[in-house]
């Protein structure tokens, strides 16, 4: 008991230290690396809180994918030098006050909990059986709160549209400017040839087992996206043009199938996003597979950045 308490206190202290260091780091690249370490520690804390699903997502999306996007942003800003516009005193004061209010609210919620903590967990476990799923987290995501999950995936595509809209007029519809390694490197080529077969198996596995144990579309899709980005960065495959038919088809296939099954619920199961009795599990697996593909392609293109080369060059 005392050992695990010491471990928890150590983790909490470490994450506080890294958080403070990241905020005060002067160099943007150093701050991003601090942020990635912060995300990995946060994933370990989620494991300590017995939430492996959240831990996997935090490690894959919060630390890995966001870290890569931030590294790309920091590298793009670097040539501009350190003439960054400092936020005005009033602005910084407002940010500080808002952050302080959020921290105070969270602290009050944790320090003074209500007599009986409200929880829907027993209800979820009682009603999970008809869906045929073994993982209560997948049950909440695809049965009880399916609308949230659907909107989440649409938001991901909106984020990609936001990145694409940074393109110049000339480059619109062209090829994303993923050119991190200008010089060909044998070592990187070796990794990009060796790792993807393993990574693809891991990604598909994570998506497949998500119905019964921790895992799922988001975690599996992120691993697939990472493998795709690795192959593109090493230059073994070209980055696709953003106006390609197949690219756009794969981007929307997940949400479209999800929405179609949701609409079919009006007819077959008398409400939006409801599954007809007995067919819940196969339908959910179909949605998860399509979502995994869409998430992988969306995250891969997010990592590749806005189009920079025109389609004619």
């Amino acid at each position: 008991m005392t050992t695990s308490l010491a471990l928890d206190i150590g983790l909490a202290g470490l994450i506080l230290a890294i958080g403070i260091w990241t905020v005060f780091a002067r160099d943007s690249l150093a701050a991003v690396i601090g942020f990635v370490g912060y995300g990995l520690l946060l994933a370990i804390i989620w494991v300590r809180l017995s939430a492996p699903d959240v831990a996997l997502t935090e490690a894959a999306i919060g630390s890995g994918m966001t870290g890569m996007l931030l590294l790309g942003a920091a590298a793009r800003l670097r040539p501009a030098g350190n003439q960054s516009t400092r936020t005005s005193l009033g602005g910084r004061f407002a940010i500080g006050v808002l952050c302080g209010m959020i921290s105070a609210g969270l602290a009050i919620a944790i320090l003074f909990p209500p007599e009986s903590i409200p929880s829907l967990a027993p209800t979820v476990m009682q009603n999970l059986a008809p869906s045929g799923l073994g993982n209560p987290v997948a049950g909440v995501l695809f049965v009880f709160r399916a609308l949230d999950t659907l909107l989440e995936k649409v938001v991901l595509i909106l984020a990609l549209l936001g990145v694409w809209s940074l393109a110049t007029d000339r480059a619109w519809g062209g090829v994303p400017g993923l050119r991190i390694y200008l010089e060909p490197s044998n070592t990187l080529t070796f990794l990009a040839q060796l790792l993807p077969p393993v990574g693809v198996v891991v990604g598909v596995y994570m998506c497949w087992v998500g119905a019964n144990v921790p895992g799922g579309a988001f975690q599996g899709g992120t691993v697939l996206a990472a493998m795709w980005l690795l192959v593109m960065i090493a230059g073994l495959r070209n980055v696709p043009r953003i106006d390609g038919f197949w690219l756009r088809f794969l981007l929307v296939i997940g949400p479209v199938i999800f929405l179609a099954i949701g609409l079919a619920g009006f007819v077959l199961a008398d409400s939006f996003l409801a599954y007809p009795a007995g067919y819940a599990k196969p339908l959910i697996v179909a949605v998860e597979v399509a979502l995994t593909l869409s998430i992988a392609v969306t995250l891969g293109m997010l990592g590749a950045g806005p189009p920079e080369r025109s389609r004619h060059s």
Binding site: E183, S185, T187, L188, F190, L191, L194, L195, V198
Partner: protein, 97 residues
């Protein structure tokens, strides 16, 4: 038999933790990037390898053991590659200056 296995686990994990400690001290104390890389790879490869070797008797079956060995192999692969890439970047920058 069980006590022997437990002693083996404790010894191997302690040895692994020692390599992590040594690697971290090296990372903090060594003078330049290349020697720091040299220090940190020892922690990744040998330290993690010993810890996983020590934990193998505690696994519930061969599948779980195989998963842990794959984790070690994957960390070794990525560690070795990333070290090579960083060292290469350092060398190229050195040639330019």
């Amino acid at each position: 038999m069980n006590i022997l296995l437990n002693i083996f686990t404790v010894l191997a994990v302690v040895a692994g933790a020692f390599f992590f400690l040594a690697g971290t001290v090296g990372l903090l104390r060594f003078p330049d990037t290349l020697t720091r890389l040299h220090a940190i790879t020892k922690a990744d490869n040998l330290g993690l390898g010993l810890i996983i070797l020590g934990l193998l008797p505690l696994t519930s079956g061969p599948i779980q053991a195989l998963k842990m060995i794959s984790v070690w192999l994957l960390v070794q692969l990525s560690g070795a590659i990333v070290t090579q890439l960083i060292a290469r970047a350092v060398r190229l920058r050195g040639l330019q200056e």
